[in-house]
């Protein structure tokens, strides 16, 4: 079930929130039970029985293995890793080996598998104690605001708030505001960019004129950020409605000044997961430069494989791995002293090329697409490119604005102001959120249903 649907927005969410707050605060276990039940219903309705069963299996396996892994016992960690990664690999790769066994991947599997595995490793390392209560642990794993597309939670981050959450009026209002902004980002901006990108990537790559190929790549670059960060905004907002504060997953990645910087700002919960559970255990940068390069490439190979089972995802992962490896010595040269805007543009160009790899159905298509971007496909000029720019001009402008921290800058300027500035700071975001909620509802009805990009991972 996507957050930007009528079923969720108008029925499921109000019902879940109302019932949650009808339960007095002094019964946190009951509130937690309500949220867990709502989450399982969310999972069942949105993903079917297979999704619920897979989620329950992951919860049970990681719960038991974590209990057994306490005191630095390795075998339960290996068992948990085998079962969890095995389940993920089965659903991701089985279609390549047996068409008859191929089934749709359960909703959010990639995310909750990593969340469960991270928890088991944390318990093994002694970072957190194993959770004794299965319902509390199940709530941590299944909580619907983050179930489908993260952020990938760490148990230590939410353990103190389980099971009832720490709901406050301020937190609720802030969460609702954030949710409305995320909803609008998805429905008003990301979906329009999706239409543009889908149109371009629907054509044979070798026939694309250069102009259209670039417009398509830009549209997809905007779409994937607006879409995924919108989901994260909504997830974080929903978390606060129930009294949970989830970690930020994005920090304006398209304002990054290097590829390394970009990955510190993009899908932060996944990057930090790979850093803490793969890169550092492999030795990180502690075992010499050559080993560091190998470690980086391993991490990025796995990141690519996590996103998809086709070769273009592997190539996409390695593309960033190689860029990060090359960037480290490059930053010590004159490149590192170039003005920030220049480095931002170079970074964005490299990211856009990576997006083409990511969006292409296969490696061959991506190669032909790159050639078309260089004018070696269907020529240079394209009426279709102009059409896409004119048709979605409001979305291009607003989408670009949303990629940069103007909102944050404005908030900072108004925060400590008295008088009118203070009034705008207090009322402005809420009024804007209400307007965006109404506009989103309008767009939801006038547009057709479209699921989030990151559901497929």
């Amino acid at each position: 079930m996507a957050f930007s649907t009528m079923s969720f927005l108008v029925y499921f969410l109000p019902a879940a929130v109302i019932v949650y707050y009808l339960i007095p605060k002094r019964f946190p276990a009951l509130r937690g039970a309500e949220l867990l039940l709502a989450s399982l219903v969310f999972c069942w309705v949105g993903g079917g029985l297979l999704c619920v069963c897979t989620l329950c299996l992951c919860i049970l396996v990681s719960y038991v293995c974590a209990r057994l892994a306490e005191g630095k016992k390795k075998p339960p960690v290996i068992v948990a890793a085998a079962v969890l990664i095995g389940a993920l690999a089965f659903f991701k790769y089985i279609k390549h080996f047996s068409g008859a066994l191929a089934v749709a991947m359960p909703l959010g599997l990639s995310f909750f598998v990593f969340q469960a595995l991270g928890y088991v490793i944390d318990v093994y390392r002694g970072t957190v104690p194993a959770e004794r209560s299965l319902p509390r642990y199940a709530l941590f794993m299944a909580m619907f605001p983050q179930l489908a597309q993260g952020p990938i939670l760490r148990y230590a981050g939410v353990a103190n708030d389980l099971p009832g959450g720490r709901a406050t009026l301020d937190g609720f209002a802030a969460g609702l505001t954030r949710f409305c902004f995320g909803l609008a980002k998805k429905l008003l901006l990301a979906n329009a960019m999706a239409k543009a990108a889908d149109m371009v990537f629907g054509y044979e790559a070798s026939l694309l004129p250069a102009g259209l190929a670039w417009v398509g790549a830009l549209a997809y670059t905007l779409q994937i950020y607006l879409d995924f960060s919108a989901y994260s905004d909504m997830a974080l907002g929903l978390g606060r409605l129930f009294g949970y504060e989830f970690p930020e997953n994005f920090n304006y990645p398209y304002a990054a000044v290097s590829i390394t910087d970009f990955w510190r700002r993009w899908h932060i919960s996944l990057s930090s997961w790979f850093r803490d559970y793969v890169y550092i255990p492999l030795g990180g940068n502690r075992k010499g430069y050559a080993r560091q390069i190998v470690n980086i490439l391993i991490v990025w190979l796995l990141t690519g494989a996590w996103h998809g089972s086709t070769l273009n995802y592997i190539a996409w992962g390695l593309w960033f791995g190689v860029l990060i490896v090359l960037e480290k010595p490059l930053m010590k040269t004159g490149y590192g002293r170039l003005p920030l805007p220049v480095r931002r543009i170079v970074t964005m160009l490299l990211v856009i090329l990576g997006r083409v790899l990511f969006r292409s159905p296969d490696l061959g298509y991506a190669w032909r697409y790159f050639l078309s971007m260089l004018g070696m496909g269907g020529g240079i000029e394209s009426g279709a490119a102009l059409y896409l720019l004119l048709e979605y001009w409001p979305e291009w402008i607003c989408g670009l604005i949303a990629c940069f921290p103007l909102k944050r800058l404005l908030e900072k300027k108004l925060r400590d102001r008295a008088g009118l500035g203070g009034i705008v700071y207090t009322w402005g975001p809420k009024a804007a959120a209400l307007l965006l909620l109404a506009l989103s509802y309008m767009k939801l009805l006038s547009g057709s249903f479209q699921s989030f990009i990151y559901f497929q991972f």
């Binding site: 649907t5 309705v45 079917g48 029985l49 209002a173 009426g383 959120a433 909620l437 509802y441 939801l444």
Partner: protein, 389 residues
């Protein structure tokens, strides 16, 4: 102040969402959306098995969106907003200067694919042609220009008018049908020769006007007669053209919720010398008229011509000296039929979207003298849409 703003904000959002939920549940259910010309989604059965296999939720979502509070008004508002934002294409309609055209998705011309399609439809048509000849009749496949083709010059340079695709399709089809000996009449060049007279087309609909329908009728019958057929052709002076008073809701106007008004009206053509006839629709006696009756205040749709969406229509003029003609194909036949029956003893018309049997069986049963399949350039090579099989 912050506390007050928080409470007010939460209350407003809650009232908004709960109001939508309540109105959606309580409002009377609608089953059809006039401006979208489609049936609205039905409520799915509440069956846990459907939830388990993941099919219930998408169906429910579609139903909820279709039956949501204020849907029609909101969709209309969004269309108005898109128009005011000066988007070149709104609801798949190209907003031209005094004309509303269809948006054609950009499509590269793949000649090999067109050839394959032309071969496939050529085989289908050859089979029908053979059946027609087996009962002593003659078969003709006819192509007519649709709005995007006839008004190609009205598209902005950056939008696709499909001129290249249309030319390549006609070329491939001509080759395919010629190789199989199937009669083919392309009315496009004759229309072009008339100098793009805009009274022949519509500015708000895909179809030609009754004047365009008359020209298509004339071009087709003259081409048939020059091929050795013997079908009487009415001159323009044998018809009276009358403008209807009703507002004309073209398909493009309708897609835009009638927010872009038009001054175009539908016309009708009646014979100067009246011809008595009887009409049956799907075997039942119908009103002996080729124009659908509407009240003066009701907007007219293209279904004004022949009524539209009827599986089988038979018009008998009881003039044995005239030929029996079967006409089928896409909706361009409707306006043509309003004139064609005047050249027939019996005119049979099939709408294959609704007719249960096959064209071949129908021909064997009724043994018409001529069979004409009329399709626009849009569906020329399609083996699936009306008239392709």
């Amino acid at each position: 102040m912050k506390r007050v703003s928080n409470i007010l904000f939460i209350a407003c959002a809650a009232v908004f969402l709960l109001l939508i939920a309540a109105v959606t549940i309580l409002r009377p259910a609608e089953t059809f959306s006039y401006y979208e010309n489609r049936s609205l989604a039905k409520k799915p059965v509440n069956d846990p098995a459907l939830v388990n296999d993941g099919t219930w939720y998408p169906a429910m979502e579609k139903f909820l969106c279709d039956s949501a509070a204020g849907r029609k008004t909101i969709t209309k508002l969004c269309t108005a907003a898109d128009l005011s934002l000066k988007r070149p294409v709104v609801n798949d309609v190209v907003i031209g200067d005094g004309i509303l055209l269809p948006f054609n998705p950009y499509e590269a011309v793949d000649r090999a694919k067109l050839k394959r399609q032309a071969e496939a439809i050529g085989n289908n048509l050859k089979a029908v042609s053979d059946v027609t000849e087996s009962v002593g009749g003659r078969y003709y496949y006819v192509s007519v220009p649709c709005q995007y083709s006839y008004c190609a010059e009205d598209y902005p340079d950056y939008l696709d008018d499909r001129a290249e695709l249309t030319a390549a399709s006609v070329e491939a089809l001509t080759e395919s049908l010629s190789a199989r000996g199937v009669g083919y009449i392309d009315t496009g060049p004759a229309f072009d020769a008339m100098g793009k007279d805009m009274t022949l087309s519509s500015t708000v609909d895909n179809h030609f006007s009754i004047f365009g329908a008359y020209e298509a009728y004339r071009i087709v019958l003259e081409a048939m007669n020059s091929d050795g057929c013997d079908v009487p052709v009415l001159g323009k002076d044998e018809l009276t053209f009358t403008e209807t008073e009703n507002y004309y809701m073209g398909s493009r106007t309708r897609k835009l919720f009638n927010l872009v008004k038009n001054t175009e009206h539908l016309w009708r053509a009646d014979p100067v010398a009246p011809v008595e006839f009887t009409r049956t629709n799907n075997g039942n006696w119908g009103v002996p008229s080729v124009y659908h009756r509407e009240e003066p205040w009701t907007p007219l749709l293209y279904t004004y011509y022949m009524g539209g969406d009827i599986g089988e229509t038979v018009i008998e003029t009881d003039r044995p000296a005239y030929p029996d003609i079967l006409i089928y194909g896409d909706s361009f036949t409707n306006a043509m039929e309003c004139i064609l029956y005047l050249s027939c003893d019996t005119m049979y018309s099939l709408d294959l979207r609704h007719y249960r049997g096959t064209v071949s069986d129908y021909i064997l049963e009724h043994e018409p003298d001529y069979v004409i399949c009329v399709r626009s350039y849009e569906s020329l090579l399609s083996t699936t849409y009306n008239g392709g099989r």
